[in-house]
């Protein structure tokens, strides 16, 4: 039995999530191939070939694949699906965008966002905003699975797989118009070692930037936000941590002015160390925080900046 892992990439870089999905794949089978979808992505394929345990790398390129058009991505995967018993896709918004299409075309049940491989046909996944874990056994001959990267350790480097070019695919009745990516020198939210998140208490987009961003920069952290802060327009949607945003599990998560709604906790409660700063001592965030500071962020964050400076940060 062989497994196909679809790489997480942006045409120029192979993202770390790929290594984590490879770890999940190796729990299903020793025969793991990686498919890189993109345009001008030879460098990504070469990087994927170095992941330990990968048998071979397949590279499919086209204009539509370079823009992450779901119809094209699904078609490129379907063209190869006959050779595999399981197809594993990172559970990013890009991965979740096309994996269900592949499942529908193969007439199989997609298995979304798995956090554990119990056996080759049995998997565990969070439901109800992570308030329950469901273990399901698939009766389908072929499995289409999205994998929550933060739930698996990254596969190491040291492989030397071959890279093979396979057919690209087009976008059909969908046309790419434009994209507007947030330019940032900060680490990527999903892969950052430290995340600093702000909540509704910030009160405005200006205040969010003034308070959260300098602290994040001081810590070399990525910036996150609660759904309430995104909803109120204080932070872009791409910052959203939670049930319907990104799931993160950094070494350190700093929640500032975040009450700790169920939906937010779903996205960060697997962090190694959680810090909460909130003036409401009864805020639910304190029930999951390792270190809680009951204080108004307006005084606490400047003090924290000073304390970090004093500690040589």
């Amino acid at each position: 039995m062989a497994v196909l892992v679809v790489a997480d990439n942006d045409n120029a870089h192979l993202r770390d999530g790929t290594h984590k999905v490879v770890t999940a794949a190796l729990k299903i089978s020793g025969d793991v191939d990686v498919l890189v979808l993109g345009k001008g992505a030879k460098g990504v394929a070469d990087a994927a070939a170095k992941i330990a345990g990968v048998r071979k790398v397949l590279l499919a390129e086209s204009e539509a694949l370079g823009h992450g058009i779901a119809e094209a991505q699904a078609d490129a995967v379907l063209a190869l699906a006959g050779n595999y018993d399981a197809i594993l896709v990172p559970a990013t918004s890009g991965g979740k965008n096309f994996a269900p299409r592949v499942a529908a075309k193969l007439d199989v049940a997609p298995i979304s966002d798995i956090v554990e491989v119990v056996s080759a046909d049995t998997f565990t996944r969070p439901i109800y905003a992570g308030n329950a874990l469901e273990t399901v056994q698939s009766s389908d001959a072929k499995k289409v699975i999205t994998v929550r990267p933060t739930a698996f350790p990254a596969a190491g480097e040291g492989g030397s797989a071959s890279v093979e070019t396979v057919g690209g695919a087009d976008a059909g009745k969908t046309r790419f118009v434009s994209e507007e990516m947030v330019k940032s020198d900060r680490p990527e939210l999903a892969a950052a070692k430290i995340v600093v998140s702000g909540g509704r208490a910030m009160g405005s987009a200006e205040e969010f930037q003034r308070v959260i961003e300098p602290l994040a920069d001081k810590l070399g952290a990525a910036v996150g936000a609660s759904r309430a802060a995104v909803d109120a327009g204080y932070a872009p949607n791409d910052y959203q941590v939670g049930q319907t945003g990104k799931v993160v599990a950094p070494a350190l998560y700093v929640a500032i002015g975040i009450s700790g709604a169920i939906q937010h906790l779903a996205g960060m409660k697997d962090s190694k160390v959680i810090v909460a700063i909130n003036k409401d001592a009864d805020a639910p965030i304190f029930q999951v925080a390792d270190f809680g500071l009951v204080a108004d962020y307006k005084t606490a964050v400047p003090e924290l900046m000073d304390a970090l400076t004093a500690a040589g940060k």
Partner: protein, 248 residues
């Protein structure tokens, strides 16, 4: 232009789900149920398309227990024109839901299916994409803006790292993200009016669709609980604790 909006009755957004002691699922007895929040956003967008004169009819469809009728009524009170309820006591998987919706599309012939990106119970984020694939219609998921002009729709999508704009031919499937709009509260006169709107009663057997599950639920368990840690008094104290923990 006819818009079809599938809606799902789920546990209320503010209620914390509790796992049953026998590990067979989540306890929904006596729990407040509501329309899935992303479905509400989709209904709102469809009603706004009608108010702009772009859509001529908004049809609401739900698949679920008899009480899903209330969910449809809520959508009709927001401005939907009529409903279709496919009653089932099974909890169909995304593949079955997509197939049933494809059958409804074949009957209704809408120009657009507008639906939520994800239901907050199963958290699959799959049905819209699957429906699009089954129908051979273009998809535009995670929409934060929709502009319909003639036979195409320009959709701004929330993607990893920013925004993407796609132009799709209609008919298409579009799924709603959080920032697409803020759903209205239905007014009392509209709630009264909605009671008179037609809801067609259907059964799964009316469609030639096999909804047998493909996944066997082995168990449903509670995740490991995280225990509360300690309160620190000052920022300096916090930094020293974090240094000791080795996370700075």
């Amino acid at each position: 232009m006819k818009v079809l909006v599938p809606v799902k009755r789920v546990i209320d957004y503010n209620v914390k789900a509790r796992v049953k002691a026998d590990q067979t699922g989540v306890d929904l007895a006596n729990v407040k149920m509501s329309m899935n929040p992303f479905c509400e956003i989709a209904v709102e967008e469809a009603v706004r398309l009608k108010e702009k004169g772009v859509a001529t009819e908004v049809v609401i469809v739900s698949i679920g227990p008899a009480q899903a009728q209330e969910t449809i009524r809520t959508a009709l009170a927001m401005g939907g024109d009529r409903g279709v309820l496919i009653t089932t006591d099974a909890d169909p998987e995304p593949l079955a839901v997509a197939k049933l919706l494809a059958a409804v599309v074949a009957e209704e012939n809408p120009n657009l299916v507008l639906m939520g990106k994800q239901a907050i119970d199963g958290d699959n984020n799959a049905v819209g994409q699957m429906l699009s694939a089954l129908l051979g219609w273009p998809q535009a998921t995670y929409a934060s803006a929709i502009e319909v002009s003639g036979s195409t729709a320009k959709v701004t999508r929330e993607v990893d790292g920013g925004l993407q704009v796609l132009d799709v031919d209609l008919p298409a499937v579009i799924t709603a993200d959080l920032r697409l709009n803020e759903p209205r509260y239905a007014s009392l006169p509209n709630i009264m009016k909605a009671k008179k709107k037609e809801i067609a009663q259907k059964a799964v057997a009316d469609y030639s669709v096999d909804i047998a599950p493909r996944l066997k639920v082995i168990k449903v368990t509670e995740p490991a609980k995280r225990s509360a840690g300690i309160k620190v008094e000052t920022a300096a104290d916090l930094v020293s604790k974090l240094n000791t923990a080795g996370v700075l």
